[in-house]
Symmetry: C2
Subunit: 332 residues, 2 copies
């Protein structure tokens, strides 16, 4: 398991490559909720998501450990594809990304634009088989999306940086949980810097494997990818490495689809940022937690990213959610 020192080392490694994203607040939202919410805007990160952090750290750790790196490879239909493509390009390492052909054109195109070779294959099983075969070659290294110490340490730099920026006592840190890299890194960083703060994960109710794993003490696995707005949290299960951290979380909330669309519209409107539903969903978890609090609280939310295709935007904005202003009791 990684420790805080690994995250500090990761920060030193990646600092010159990544964006120093702001921590922002909405005075209006704070007023409505009666609590203070700090948002770490990782939607403004390189590639539009926190995953640039883990990718960038992992590629550098590989370079420190191995001499002859000919190529890095990854299998992904989403932000991890772009993160590995971008990270490899930072160090002039060729990258091949295996993607399912049903992945959005925008994401394949963005991955190519960072200089990676993109191989499209019809089925996810073919994608996974192709990357496994490729990684057996000498000098070719696979970068996993979350179940990897260097990736977890990299993701942890978002919370580390945010807590340094906020520079005051925080009551709770919230992040979404897909494979668990972001929440695991956030936990380690927060325990070191603010041991009194709770660290809490949020997951779509439609794909609640990590929530059930947290409560049962054993890794639970979904049979199929869930149908949810939160396309960054559709992972079938967490990994052994992330679960070792997830077990230690203070709490875990699941979120229905309606509040995801609601909070995506409101965060885009109030923060004026292109926040993706996987990030916005976290606010429903925050409200579930705040309902049990008697005093005004200070909460840090890691807004994981802002990569949304047009079909998703149409679905998210299909109904006007801006007619009812946020309050902690909504969706209770």
């Amino acid at each position: 398991m990684i420790n805080f020192n690994d995250i500090q080392t990761a920060q030193q490694r990646i600092n010159a490559h990544i964006n120093d994203t702001p921590v922002i607040q909405s005075a209006q939202l704070n007023h409505w909720l009666g609590h203070q919410i700090f948002f770490k805007a990782e939607c403004l990160q390189k590639i539009g998501a926190f995953k640039a952090r883990g990718g960038c750290n992992a590629v550098q750790v590989l370079c420190e450990k191995h001499a002859g790196i000919n190529r890095v490879v990854a299998n992904s239909s989403g932000n991890h594809a772009q993160a590995v493509a971008w990270s490899a390009a930072q160090f002039n390492i060729p990258a091949t990304i295996y993607m399912p052909s049903f992945a959005s054109k925008v994401k394949a195109q963005a991955t190519r634009s960072y200089g990676a070779e993109v191989v499209l294959l019809d089925k996810r099983q073919q994608v996974d088989a192709a990357v496994a075969t490729a990684a057996q070659e000498d000098g070719v290294f696979w970068i996993p999306p979350f179940n990897d110490d260097a990736v977890i340490a990299g993701q942890g730099t978002a919370a580390l940086e945010a807590l340094q920026q906020v520079n005051q006592d925080i009551d709770a840190v919230f992040a979404p949980c897909g494979g668990g890299g972001l929440i695991s890194g956030s936990l380690v960083a927060t325990r070191a810097l603010q041991p009194k703060a709770q660290v809490i994960a949020v997951e779509p109710a439609a794909g609640d494997d990590a929530y059930r794993s947290f409560h049962s003490g054993e890794i639970q696995r979904l049979a199929d990818a869930p149908n949810t707005f939160a396309d960054g949290a559709m992972t079938l299960s967490v990994g052994e490495k992330t679960f070792a951290h997830i077990k230690q979380l203070d709490d875990f909330f699941v979120v229905d689809e309606a509040p995801m669309a609601y909070w995506t519209q409101w965060l885009q409107h109030l923060l004026k940022m292109h926040v993706e539903p996987t990030s916005a969903m976290t606010m429903d978890g925050v409200c579930q937690w705040l309902r049990g609090q008697m005093q005004p609280k200070k909460v840090l939310v890691i807004l994981s990213g802002g990569n949304i295709d047009a079909q998703m935007m149409q679905r998210l904005w299909a109904e006007d959610q801006l007619t009812e202003v946020p309050n902690v009791q909504r969706f209770s």
Copy 2:
């Protein structure tokens, strides 16, 4: 007519009240266009639009000139309503905003949230009559949306600040033109700081009064509010004060509706910001201008705001525009 000194004085007045908004770039967009575009992100300004600048300056100029200010009033269905409400609140001055009842609930609600009294009236003529009557009272002052020296000087601080932030030679500065406050202030600031840079306005083709005024040398007026995505540029005509500046612009482009939706989607996607169509439309004007340029250019675009209601978001995202990447020749 205002001069550069008025803008510098405005900057000193409003500096402690407004947000220091960033100037951002998209490396990907620059690569696709073959030119460098700097975006001044006024969507991150107080009230979500540059208009906080003009409002804040105008309220302070009133306070400097008059002793007994009981109240400020304004008539608006949009960002100016919020700007005056917010600005008055900064100085503990009561504000009444007269709005047409067809204005969006979100905007009326936002205006109230800044502490202003909002009076809803059925027709725009009633709104205009009510504000005129109110302003006749002793100690009550009307803050106009654009045809006012203090407002123009305030809006000019956006370009002033952006040029200071960019701190290198710029070839052209673009801004949208509604009533003309923003483009007028931008012109004065740019002429002083970068006399070689062109200053160019952009307007919806559906409401091309300012474009026709620029070319004819006389103020032209629309009979009715145009039907356009660019709801921040629906003004029926520019004012005498703004037209004195607009006459001196280097060029003026009009934009069809299709490129407005296209550029709104692409700027939201690339910049990860909730950019309104009135701002995004400017990029089509930029491309029209770039088509005539033989060398790579550096362009500053003032992104005017990010206030968009849900109905507008639905219309803007109704068709997927992200399938064709931007280039200068698109829509030519």
